[in-house]
């Protein structure tokens, strides 16, 4: 047993005035009797004056001394040392990722409830010189309290913990703890988690880390992926990936696709423990859809957040492609592809914006297009970096993994335009302008790309007509890749469910105020950027988010879609960047036990006994 406030022992000096006042101020009830003769004889008897009788005679004093001793001991704040390493300052990182909402049984407690319970026990056991700092983390981390010994504040923070429907990551929480250590040093960090964390963390541990694992949850089945791919016809092929834990008791599950309350499709699937069934549906794509996939199981399901997912499918339409008449090779290649409207065209007015544009003149580079491909000239912003010389050259390297150059082979292709990088400039200068080289010649980049918000710019610094490329199969493939890029940019080729985290929703006016209403109570207002994209919208909850700006509104469904969270798998060890592995502990370590309240309570009981003793002494 140790004492937190040993200096309070001076209070034992109060025994002296207590004894003095006891004998000076002892008020005894007076009782007049005929004669003291017999009582004097009694009091003079040797038996009355034995040490034991003296003790009994001064029982009230002894009770008061005992009471004082208890109070002074309580003031010295004793505690039982049960924790091998007692931390005066302890940051506690509480996992609030989606898996923490998993229940242990039907109608049971969630992992966060267990964490709350352990936190409350730790707060109750806090000694006066100890301070806790609560940090909640999921994909990001937020500090709930600073280092404080205020139990009320800590308990309020614990009560306010809510689960974010996002995967858990430890890195940011540890970085936040590290930042805290600069102002308030500490040696240990405690992590309360269900263990559903990445097995590796990109963090070098400057402190001791205690990973305390909360007991595992029950069986779970959920949707881990929801996406769609455009078929050759005007249909969407929707894929739903399910996953279930090895201990599941459910035998069947029903997946239902609903749009605005109207069922679109439904399928029942047999569930085997540990499997990951995949379902496919076909939906017509004439109109935009916000499809809600809902999973219902026949048995217990620990996590509810992964039983629903949304998928936004735009209406299918032909792509508007601008190709000047002079680019006949491109027109020829595009004519072989379906679902395109090529402009300029006879009898069809040209639209103001295009999905894909091929330009060969610098003045056409300002055309409003989702994907713009310039050919044969150097864009204005690159003229200081590169120039085109009229001489033959060949590609020496290209990015085969880029979607734009997928299946495009540039070997043995001759180019009569040779881009030459300005002397003194290198690839870094292009990267500083946001450009990425797709293909490189011996003297400079042959093709560059740059993403400008929602738009993509591709610059071919050679003219295909002055190369052997049109005579190669690579050319139509390149054109097809550009068409697919345009389709992807417009969401017309494939679509995936929006996971929880941060939203990025295009389609608003530039710098428009966007009001966001989510599944959680309350609304917030964000401002769209110059491209009309509302970015940085936090979406930590699964559900539908409504974004409105004036009369324009966008509805977005946000889903968990995390195989890791759905699996509820718990790591036994987390590997850190400095090759330190921290094992998770399955039991809560014993905390130091404060005894002051026990002593104070004993003192109170003693006070009651003394009061009773004082009150009962009636003659």
């Amino acid at each position: 047993m140790s004492f937190t406030s040993l200096s309070s022992a001076w209070l034992f000096a109060l025994i002296i005035p207590l004894v003095i006042f006891y004998f000076l101020k002892l008020k005894r009830p007076r009782q007049t009797i005929p004669s003291l003769v017999l009582w004097r004889q009694v009091m003079n008897d040797q038996r009355v004056n034995s040490p034991f009788q003296r003790f009994k005679r001064n029982l009230l004093l002894l009770l008061q001394l005992l009471l004082l001793a208890l109070l002074v001991l309580a003031a010295m704040q004793p505690f039982l040392r049960r924790e091998p390493q007692r931390a005066a300052r302890l940051p506690v990182l509480v996992d609030v990722s989606a898996s923490m909402a998993a229940l242990d049984k039907s109608g049971g407690r969630s992992r966060l409830d267990e964490a709350r319970q352990q936190l409350r026990e730790r707060i109750d056991a806090m000694l006066p010189d100890q301070e806790l700092c609560l940090i909640a983390f999921s994909k990001s981390a937020r500090k709930l309290t600073g280092f404080t010994s205020n139990k009320t504040e800590l308990r309020d923070a614990v009560a306010g913990l809510v689960v974010d429907d996002v995967p858990g990551e430890l890195d940011e929480a540890l970085h936040l703890a590290q930042a805290l250590a600069r102002t308030a040093p500490f040696d240990r960090v405690l992590v309360l988690t269900d263990g559903n964390l990445p097995a590796r963390a990109n963090f070098e541990l400057p402190f001791q880390l205690d990973l305390q694992k909360i007991p595992a949850a029950g069986a779970n089945i959920g949707i881990t992926a929801l996406n769609a791919r455009r078929t050759t016809g005007s249909e969407w092929e929707v894929f739903v990936q399910l996953a279930c834990t090895a201990n599941t008791t459910a035998t069947t599950a029903t997946l239902e696709l609903v749009e605005s309350g109207k069922p679109l499709a439904s399928e029942q699937v047999a569930i085997a423990p540990g499997t990951a069934p995949r379902l496919a549906f076909r939906l017509r794509g004439e109109r935009p859809l916000l499809v809600c996939a809902t999973l219902r199981t026949s048995g217990f399901d620990a996590l509810a957040a992964d039983n629903v997912a949304w998928l936004k499918l735009p209406a299918m339409r032909p792509l508007d492609v601008f190709v000047p008449e002079s680019l006949a090779t491109f027109r020829h290649a595009l004519a072989a592809l379906d679902g395109l409207r090529i402009f300029p065209a006879k009898d069809i007015p040209s639209p103001t914006t295009y999905d894909l544009a091929f330009v060969e003149k610098p003045e056409d580079a300002k055309l409003a297009a989702q994907v713009l491909c310039s050919v044969g000239f150097v864009p204005e912003e690159l003229r200081a970096l590169v120039s085109i010389e009229k001489k033959g050259t060949a590609a020496i390297d290209w990015r085969r993994e880029s979607p734009l150059l997928q299946h495009v082979g540039l070997d043995e292709v001759l180019f009569m335009d040779d881009p030459v990088t300005t002397a003194g400039k290198d690839g870094q200068a292009f990267r500083l302008l946001g450009y990425e080289a797709l293909a490189d010649g011996p003297h400079g980049p042959l093709a560059l790309t740059r993403n400008e918000g929602e738009r993509t710019r591709v610059h071919l610094l050679f003219h295909p007509d002055r190369s052997t490329l049109p005579y190669r199969v690579a050319f139509p493939v390149l054109v097809s890749n550009l068409v697919q890029a345009a389709q992807r940019a417009n969401g017309l080729s494939e679509s995936a469910g929006q996971p929880t985290g941060v939203l990025r929703v295009p389609g608003f006016a530039a710098a428009a105020n966007v009001k966001v209403t989510g599944p959680a109570p309350g609304t917030r207002t964000e401002q769209a950027d110059e491209s009309g994209i509302a970015t940085g919208i936090p979406a930590p909850r699964v559900g539908e988010y409504l974004l409105t700006s004036g009369t324009h509104e966008e509805r977005v469904g946000v889903s968990l879609l995390s195989p890791e969270e759905t699996s509820l798998a718990a790591v036994d060890e987390v590997q850190f960047a400095d090759r330190i592995a921290v094992s998770t502990a399955n039991f809560a370590p014993k905390t130091d036990r404060s005894l002051w309240w026990s002593l104070a309570f004993a003192g109170f009981i003693l006070l009651l006994v003394e009061w009773w003793w004082f009150q009962r002494r009636t003659v």
Binding site: I33, L36, L38, V42, M43, D45, R47, K56
Partner: protein
């Protein structure tokens, strides 16, 4: 007191019952004056006592001529001497007797014993034991003195701090006459009771000691801590855990009772400890009669 009652101390019924009782003194300390009590020595009454050898000078009128005629030796017939018995009533009227009816019972007992004396044609005197100048009732006799006795006892006011042994000494300075002293007190004194009893015995008084204790003295109901105050001296005594001391208290109280009984019996007297809560009728007409104090 109703109009028909003679005294507030005793009911008329008690007075009637007293008329049938006599004080039963074990030793015959009597006055020379003629009375109804038979003296130990031979006397001139009509009640035959014994015979003895004739000595020259004896009154020949008391010769037993029948015996002389039969055996031709002179014997003298002796008769009981009927002498007067002095009944002294000593009533402790100190402050310690003011509790729980002790003094009232003492006055009733004194009145009863006094009435026995007056009805027996004895001299009865009374004295209170309370201070240096106690109230006294001069010796009186005859039933006509009953009113005087009752008036005296009724007029007694308790209060005073004189110990009982000092009161006895004060009383004996002015007392004359042998007989019985009815000493009614609680005997709660630190003084020397042996000396007081010796003085009484030396004065020819057979002690009838009645110790009256209040119920709270016989069985104190005390516990915890308190401060006791002496009713006479106002002295204080702090007691803690009194309930634990009760055993000792009873030991000392019993010891005092035995001491009084021993002191009285050694001087041919009687002693009895009674509770102030005990009804007078049962005490006097049953207890004292059964114990042979009255007959």
């Amino acid at each position: 007191m109703t109009a028909a009652q003679v005294t507030s101390l005793l009911t008329n019924r008690d007075l009637d019952r007293l008329a049938r009782l006599r004080l039963n003194a074990s030793r015959r300390f009597t006055n020379r004056a003629r009375g109804e009590h038979l003296a130990a020595k031979g006397g001139t009454s009509t009640e035959f006592c014994d015979t003895r050898d004739y000595s020259p000078g004896d009154d020949v009128r008391y010769l037993d001529w029948n015996a002389f005629a039969r055996i031709n030796r002179p014997y003298l017939k002796q008769y009981h001497q009927e002498e007067e018995l002095h009944v002294a009533l000593l009533v402790d009227a100190s402050s310690s007797m003011m509790f729980e009816g002790k003094f009232d019972l003492a006055r009733k007992l004194a009145a009863a014993f006094g009435m026995l004396g007056l009805r027996g044609s004895e001299k009865v005197s009374a004295c209170s034991l309370q201070n240096a100048s106690p109230a006294r009732l001069a010796p009186c006799s005859g039933r006509a003195s009953a009113a005087k006795l009752f008036a005296f006892l009724e007029s007694l006011e308790p209060g005073g701090e004189q110990p009982v042994e000092v009161g006895i000494e004060t009383f004996l300075r002015q007392h004359k006459g042998r007989g019985v002293v009815v000493l009614i007190s609680d005997f709660l004194t630190t003084g020397d009771l042996r000396r007081a009893f010796n003085l009484l015995h030396g004065a020819g008084l057979e002690p009838f000691a009645l110790q009256i204790l209040a119920p709270s003295e016989l069985a104190p109901e005390v516990s915890g801590d308190f401060r006791l105050v002496d009713s006479e001296s106002a002295a204080t005594l702090d007691i803690s855990s009194a309930n634990d001391l009760l055993t000792l208290y009873h030991e000392y109280r019993t010891s005092l009772e035995q001491q009084i009984a021993t002191l009285a019996q050694q001087r041919s007297g009687r002693a009895l400890t009674i509770s102030a809560a005990e009804p007078f009728e049962r005490l006097f007409f049953e207890t004292l009669r059964r114990k042979g104090w009255v007959a």
